[in-house]
């Protein structure tokens, strides 16, 4: 428990746990990786059928617009929800082996990240074959994912720490992510809303993540560099606060678990 996460042993453990978790997700079911794609795909189909006529009037290539939004949102919501319970799920490891507890959070988030990158590959392939022309701007997408990763890690540290002491955390987070889905421009665009609503939605960091990704991949002009920078700053501050809380409480984990 007392070792640092930044030593060779801990980094190696993160790698092994990520590989094991990813293989289990893949090998644990008959359809394997297809399950990873199935959820965003079904969400896409439903939203496309429901909103194509409405949102389609305001944005060109609604399918690409929608897919990017869903894939980016899925990474944030799916990974944070999965990681929230990681300490309880892996309590056997925490109570029987000596390693820094944050290894479990990082490995869980990295497992989500690998799935996200694979989803992204499939998404780009789909967009390419349906006629989307990519520009050099696409090379900047990893920077957006990096900012998003900071948000995911921050939320994961906070949720996983709180979940040990308050089991309600996971349920509250489920409700918040459901609300988050609707207050992020995934199946609608900002210009469709009133000025006041737009101002409110611009305070949501995921708005900037989703819209910036669309700008880089599809060329949608709705990007706010300052907003993206603020998202990065918020992610960094939020991460520092969540990590501080974790560090204050982690020594009680094996006892409370």
């Amino acid at each position: 428990m007392s070792n640092s996460i930044f030593n060779k042993k801990s980094l190696h453990l993160i790698k092994e746990l990520t590989i094991a978790e990813f293989k289990l997700r893949d090998q644990g079911s008959f359809l394997g990786f297809i399950w990873t794609l199935l959820h965003p795909l079904l969400t896409f189909l439903i939203l496309y059928l429901l909103f194509n006529k409405w949102t389609g009037k305001f944005v060109y290539d609604f399918k690409g617009y929608l897919l990017v939004g869903i894939v980016q949102w899925s990474f944030f919501a799916g990974t944070t929800t999965y990681t929230a319970e990681v300490f309880v799920r892996k309590r056997g490891l925490l109570k029987n082996f000596a390693f820094p507890a944050e290894v479990l959070i990082v490995a869980s988030v990295f497992t989500g990240l690998i799935s996200h990158i694979l989803e992204f590959m499939v998404l780009l392939g789909f967009l390419f074959f349906t006629g989307t022309h990519f520009t050099f701007k696409i090379l900047c997408v990893p920077f957006i994912i990096l900012i998003q990763l900071t948000l995911v890690l921050s939320a994961s540290f906070l949720l996983a720490t709180l979940y040990i002491f308050y089991k309600d955390t996971s349920r509250i987070w489920n409700i918040l992510t459901m609300l988050g889905f609707f207050v992020t421009p995934i199946f609608y665009s900002l210009p469709m809303l009133s000025k006041k609503a737009q101002q409110l939605l611009l305070m949501n960091p995921m708005t900037h993540i989703v819209n910036s990704t669309r700008f880089l991949i599809l060329g949608y002009p709705d990007i706010r560099i300052l907003g993206l920078f603020m998202t990065f700053l918020l992610g960094a501050v939020f991460f520092a606060a969540a990590y501080y809380l974790f560090k204050r409480l982690f020594k009680w984990f094996p006892e409370v678990l």
Binding site: I19, K23, L24, K95, F97, F165, Y166, D168, E255
Partner: protein, 244 residues
Amino acid sequence: MDALQVSKLSKVFRPQPGGRSLIKHLSRMLTGHYHKGRQFVLKDINFSVEKGELFGVIGPNGSGKTTLLKIIAEILFSSAGSVVRNGWVAPFFQWSAGFYPDLDVRDNIFLYGSFFGLTRKDVRDKMEKIISFAGVDDFMDVELRSCSQGMITKLAFSIMVHARPDIAVIDEFQEMGDFDFQRRYPDIFRSFQNNGQTIIMVSHNLDIIERFCQRTLYLKDGKQMGLGDTKTIINAYKADCLNT
């Protein structure tokens, strides 16, 4: 030279109240039924273990043996006192916790090894020895759940032994595995001693403690009741049990 020095070690647990939901917390706040008690699990423990020594810890259930081992292994924190470790400690508690039954044996060896600081290269270099020691040569590509409990235990023990820890702390040591595996214990422990490696083991099987450990610590209700030559300490423990 000492492998381990434990001085004035104490551990206090704060018993967790049942139910951690918001409603339970609020009702406890309103009724004032918060558990404010502190429970001493270990109190003022002092001992040292020499390099290459086989050291036993005995005592009745709830005497603090496992807690002591977990503090030595840095899984739990002490409330007071100090533990000085001369080298790295490999914990061997509920070994099944480090395995993933749905992964194959090979993947599990890589994963389990990483809990003991072994990289993929380290494991590959030692793979042949690990699997022949555990006798799982023919099961490498099958799911771990297909292996018997005995095989899994031997595999965990084999990986721990081949990680070559400076200090191994073994909880509830039983004579695991089949007869062929059990008869190799003296050799395994001798090789530990020859390499200057230390073993600290907890067991309720007093024959095992007597057979392998040079010195033993006797704990009762978190207090140190005795420390010294294994035979003397076991006799004191037995006498204590008969008198209560």
